[in-house]
């Protein structure tokens, strides 16, 4: 994306750093882009239906017919990994950015209003943050029951609080800025002041932080599925495929190791994007 394609007035301008030329961002975008493409095209790329059992072909090592081998009932691991990646990336994207939106809106409004509303929201967020993340997710799963739904709700409940804290502290700083005071002088409504003028200025920090959050949420989701509390059988997701290979660590190492490598690639790619954006910021800050 070159500078000339962005007009000075474009809202994109605020979010896209001036100089994007660093290898972290390029490498990260390449890896994540590849994984997203593969996941989107899973129905066309998968050589077998992900849940198709073929006992005669059980526990085969990687070959031309089965790139990543087969599992203990002869399901094709490559097809299962594709579909698993698809569902995991979808769930993680939805829960992370839903959590971000909820947290940023709550934090911004609390910081804008101030007073006891701010104090109450702040204490609730502190309490949620004090709970170890996975413990809170597990507690929610205990209520809702095992399955992706319970895990997703749990991660959102545990995840909004940090965004709320970040957005709130930025809102406090923004409140003192002349342009925010001007919204008052001009008689803009509170909603307009918050959503049109404050939010675009403070959402950046949260977006940068969300690159860490995506990785953490992916690991938590995979962990829950590994424990059998996330994706339920026979559906495949990366964590549950790892778990399904645990009884065959020596005889069929590919079932356990390959989905983990895919999870790792995703995490590395997203982390690189985060690093690249942060570095872009630094470049921009020191012209």
């Amino acid at each position: 994306m070159s500078d000339t394609t962005l007009r000075a007035s474009s809202p994109l301008r605020r979010f896209v750093p001036r100089r994007l030329h660093n290898w972290e961002l390029s490498a990260g975008l390449f890896v994540v882009g590849l994984l997203v493409t593969v996941a989107v095209l899973a129905p066309y790329l998968a050589p077998y239906p992900p849940n198709q059992i073929n006992i005669l072909a059980a526990l085969q090592s990687p070959s031309w017919h089965h790139w990543m081998g087969t599992d203990f009932v002869g399901r094709d691991v490559f097809s299962r990994v594709l579909y698993g990646l698809r569902i995991d990336m979808l769930v993680v994207a939805v829960i992370t950015y839903l959590g971000l939106i909820i947290g940023v809106v709550i934090g911004t409004v609390a910081g804008y209003i101030g007073g006891w509303v701010d104090a109450v929201v702040g204490r609730i967020a502190d309490t949620v943050i004090a709970f170890p993340f996975i413990v809170l997710v597990l507690a929610v799963v205990a209520i809702v029951g095992p399955g992706l739904k319970g895990v997703a709700i749990g991660i959102i409940i545990a995840g909004w609080a940090l965004y709320s804290r970040v957005a709130r502290s930025e809102m406090l700083a923004l409140r003192e800025q002349p342009f925010m005071m001007a919204t008052k002088a001009l008689g803009y409504s509170h909603l307009r002041a918050i959503f049109r003028h404050a939010l675009p200025n403070l959402v950046r920090t949260s977006l940068v932080y969300s690159t860490v959050d995506v990785v953490v949420n992916m690991l938590v989701l995979a962990g829950m599925s590994y424990l059998g509390l996330g994706q339920q059988a026979p559906g495949a997701d990366l964590g549950s495929i790892v778990a399904s290979g645990q009884g065959y660590l020596l005889s069929a190492w590919w079932i356990t190791t390959i989905p983990g490598v895919v999870l790792m690639l995703f995490g590395i790619g997203v982390s690189l994007i985060g690093d690249g954006i942060t570095r872009g910021d630094l470049v921009q800050a020191t012209p």
Binding site: I124, P132, L227, T257
Partner: protein, 315 residues
């Protein structure tokens, strides 16, 4: 200072109360009759009523919360239904493996992380620094259950150096059985340690007194150990305290991988069997540990470094 300590302790108490309240609400959010869900489809109406009464679920909500808090404070945690023993003794049995695992993992992470951070800071922006950053990015992206299994394949199944799972007897038995899970936990912690410490070392290195030390002819290693690390270590300690919550969560998964009879696997079993009172107690405990550690690091920091006390002039 005194006013700060009192206020900081007050904040923690409010947080603890909030934790307890949130955990207390858990059983009340369960759709339908939580006791029926807990006891399973074969429980009779009489049994359900008896358990509801013993849990105090028929009392007013405020009174229930008061009972919950007072039982937590006095340690009368009641009976676990799925394990048919008292929750207190259950936690007592499971505490040591988890504490040992978390401590062991943290020690490994520090032993690997601190030297890496020092090297990365001294050679900032050269290939060594980039290499260390890539290494921490990879270690951060690895799921702990997966790195645990891969370690088990290599060091237990192929090389037979360490046991594949379980919890050994005696000091060395425990160390041996906890090594692989502790290394897996340490991997997840490494990135935070290395990155925080690297950036605070770089900040301290840019200060004038370090320059003065160099001018006097002190060696790099002396400047590092005597002058830089002491001032750079505090942010890392704070970050470690914050991440204990992360580690506690990590034990839930890793104890399951290695079949370690700790609190993490107890919480997993409690969730699986819908033993709500046990889940509530364990959740409050886990949160309380995080609150206490954050309190302790804040107070220690205020004690050793007057600049962080609120009201102190900015130096």
């Amino acid at each position: 200072m005194f006013a700060y300590v009192v206020r900081r302790i007050g904040v923690s108490l409010v947080q603890l109360l909030g934790l307890a309240f949130l955990a207390f609400l858990l059983i009340h959010f369960v759709p339908g009759n939580p006791v029926a869900t807990m006891l399973g489809p074969r429980a009779s109406a009489h049994e359900i009523r008896m358990v509801s009464n013993s849990l105090g679920l028929n009392k007013p909500l405020i009174e229930q919360f008061w009972l919950f808090i007072s039982h937590l404070v006095t340690g009368r945690l009641g009976q676990s239904f799925t394990f048919s023993q008292s929750i207190a003794s259950l936690i007592g049995q499971r505490l040591v493996p988890s504490v040992a695992l978390i401590t062991y993992g943290t020690v490994i992470a520090i032993l690997i992380g601190v030297p890496l951070a020092v090297v990365a800071a001294l050679r900032a922006d050269d290939p060594v620094d980039h290499g260390i950053r890539i290494f921490t990015t990879v270690s951060f992206a690895m799921p702990t259950f997966w790195s645990g299994l891969v370690l088990a394949i290599v060091f237990a199944l192929k090389l037979h150096w360490l046991p594949i799972s379980g919890y050994g007897a005696g000091f060395w038995g425990i160390i041996r059985s906890l090594t692989l899970p502790a290394v897996a936990l340490a991997f997840s912690l490494l990135a935070v340690i290395v990155r925080t410490l690297r950036s605070s070392i770089r900040h301290v290195l840019s200060l004038e007194y370090v320059e003065a030390g160099r001018a006097r002819g002190f060696s790099t290693s002396r400047i590092m150990t005597h002058h830089v690390l002491r001032n750079a270590i505090m942010p890392t300690v704070t970050v470690l305290a914050v991440n204990v919550g992360f580690l506690i969560g990590g034990t839930v998964v890793i104890e399951q991988v290695f079949q370690i009879p700790g609190l993490g696997s107890l919480l997993f079993q409690a969730v699986n069997q819908r033993d709500y009172p046990l889940v509530e107690t364990l959740a409050v405990m886990a949160g309380a540990v995080v609150v206490f550690l954050n309190l302790a690091t804040d107070l220690i920091q205020a004690l050793v470094d007057p600049r962080v006390r609120p009201g102190a002039k900015n130096v």
